[in-house]
């Protein structure tokens, strides 16, 4: 699955869960700060995404992975962070 297809799958999953308008979600959108996601939404996004990528997405793992890469604590995830994580898996 190429990055563009993966982004569109991630975008659709988030859009379904957070009921956002088309085009509102960009790679730079932050899940909490920009899109207003809450803890249960992360679980819901993960379930929706699993239907596309056929694997479980653990947001805790995504944040840990990012923290290791960036060398600092991660408080929020961008859509691109999720795409990048899924691309290397």
């Amino acid at each position: 699955m190429n990055e563009q297809v993966l982004f569109s799958n991630v975008e659709e999953s988030i859009r379904l869960v957070l009921n956002t308008e088309a085009g509102e979600i960009t790679p730079e959108s932050k899940l909490v700060a920009d899109l207003g996601a809450e803890s249960i939404d992360f679980l819901d996004i993960s379930c929706e995404l699993e239907k596309f990528v056929d694997r479980e997405l653990d947001f805790k793992e995504v944040m840990t992975d990012l923290r290791v890469k960036q060398g600092e604590e991660v408080k929020d995830l961008t859509v691109q962070n999720i795409v990048d994580y899924l691309m290397v898996q």
Binding site: L16, V17, L18, T20, G36, A37, C47
Partner: protein, 261 residues
Amino acid sequence: MSLVLYKTHLIPDLNTRPVDLKFEVMGDHFSIANTIKLENSDKELGQLPDRRAARAMGRSSLLLSAVGLQTQEILSSFIKKDCYRVGLYCAIDNGPDDYQCIQALMNTNESEFATIYKKNRSPKQYLKQLPNLAGAQLGIFLGIQGPLNVFIHSQYGPLHALEQAEFDLNNNLIDAALVCAAFSLEDPLLCHRVRKDYPGEAVLTEGAAALVLVSGGEKKNWSELTSNVGNISTSKRIYGIADLLINYCIGGDKNERTSII
């Protein structure tokens, strides 16, 4: 004693013709005769003060919020004065079940059950199903923090809501009560049950109604509203659990207001 300050309702156009509603549940196809759905799609109804909330709401819950939010202006002065002295009294059915998930889980063995459950079951499904969360969500939208009562009796739910509201007003627990009810044709088995409760030619119709009660006026005999329960003319529209309240609110002008001096 209570005074109806405001009443409103949301029902399909009276010229809408009934149709048979088709469902598939667990591989079985069946239809419910003589039904009328509201034209508003779930997406339209989902344009709520918190757009994310719609994901965790069934159609009845969306209808309840749609009609309840119409009382926002009239309730605002009460909520501003003391949000703990405004009560919410709802009549609504349990939310829809997820029959696709149930079907996926049928005949699974113990070892694969957890995996299949997690894959198919929406984490927000339980939020959709609990009727008191529909009322709670409307309360959050409006900023009501007083008592919340949700009644689920399939015919007398609105009567219970009205009587509890009047009781709380009479006992000076609240200054204003929002009484509301909603019924949708979303869940096939619920439709099937309601269809069986009424004669075949009565028209099962989606709808919702809300009224605002305040102290004053005369003691209402709300039980008079039930005089027609079980005595339904065959061509009459039936609004499921919301029937009593919608029929009461249909009387008089829509969005009728009573002035308090």
